[in-house]
Amino acid sequence: MRYHAVESFDEAVRISASATGITRFLAGGTDVLVQLRAGSIQPDDIIDIKHVPGVKDITRRADGGWDIGAAVSGIELGAHAELCRDWPGVVEGMRLVGSTQVQGRATLTGNLCNGSPAADSVPGLMAAGATVSVTGPDGARVVAVADIPKSPGKTNLKPGEVITRVHLPPRGENGGDCYLRFIPRTEMDIAVVGCAVSLRVSGDMITEATVALGAVAPTVVLVPAAGAALVGSALDDAALEALVTAARAACRPISDRRGTVEFRIEVAGVLARRAASIAYARAKGETA
């Protein structure tokens, strides 16, 4: 195994594109090292991106949106008060990842690229309409976070492609988001179900809503019908019922030791309802 501490993403792409064996980019390493130690992957080349200038930066763009470097850790994300005010749901998803020790290293980009259907930060990113900048042998492109996951452990990134930054849109007026997950204990476990909701209100009425579910399908999924169930309502009982029905209808879960198919479908509805209520209160400025 060779270790490369690259100084630019171009260099990362060059090494990755010319590699003949197995390559892994290294951000926080909290997935890569576990897989390495377990022997489930035996990389020939490890490309550490943490020395590329700017990878630890969190910047507000002129349009009010955010650019987040590929190596920003959970702790660094949570310490950014302005970002937390704009996108509390995105931040709380990332902050649920692992322990204090894991938070010191784990990144949004790594969580996304590891490709777990239960990745805690991904539903919040999808609901927010986040995109990522990707650089590869064929040049650069911007891709929706929702288009990155392919199947468990796999992404739609092409060979040699590396994510350089995560982009959040401007939060704008009267918006709110939230992420909730169910785990059997209070800390340090993998989501049995996760749900993120991002919405906007005008007065009491919801004008936009996006819902994403985790751990109930081979990838984290957007559920357009669940968002549509909320739009035009003031989060009344009928809208919540329609939301719950749409969220449950989108579930294609598996049964495992964490939860059965039936349990996951049930909980998806419960979490969708709760996350929508919290996002709604945040959008109306009633809670932080």
Partner: protein
């Protein structure tokens, strides 16, 4: 396999070592630098027995490659007592009998010290969440929490 020369600062002193890229920082600390206070409980980030500070940030050293330590500062349990005098956390752990087999203790002490550096008066809830990644199979945690609280009080000068 080619070994890489790394220069780092461990507990305030320059340390150099040769490492294979796949070796973890924990392997290097224990096997090359003779710092066996950091323990390997799991090797997969779950137990916290290998906790160290890397450039001031609490991490599991089993999830850091040795090569990543180049140019960085590492603080381990061996740097906690100064000139033979135990740190208040160490004394309170003894005082409260907050350890039995002791395997988790170095990691918990390092993690607790990192907590007190940023919060000099943590609540029980804050302590339990902060230490959620430090597993202890013996004590049941209560004595650990009380030891941390009393050390915090002592360090605030309130004891």
């Amino acid at each position: 396999m080619s070994r890489i020369h790394i220069t780092t600062t461990v507990n305030g002193e320059t340390a150099e070592f040769l490492t294979e890229p796949r070796e973890t920082l924990l392997d290097v600390l224990r096997n090359q630098l003779g710092l066996t206070g950091s323990k390997e409980g799991c090797g997969t980030g779950d137990c916290g027995a290998c906790s160290v500070l890397l450039d001031g940030v609490l991490v599991s050293s089993c999830l850091v490659l040795g090569v990543e330590a180049q140019g960085k500062t590492v603080e381990t349990i061996e740097g906690m007592a100064t000139d033979g005098a135990l740190h208040p956390l160490q004394r309170q752990f003894i005082e409260h009998a907050a350890l039995q087999c002791g395997f988790c203790t170095p990691g918990i002490l390092v993690a607790a010290k990192a907590l007190l550096a940023q919060n000099d008066n943590p609540t029980e809830t804050e302590i339990r969440y902060w230490l959620a990644g430090n597993l202890c199979r013996c004590t049941g945690y209560d004595k650990i929490v009380r030891a941390v609280q009393d050390a915090a009080a002592e360090m605030r000068g309130a004891a």
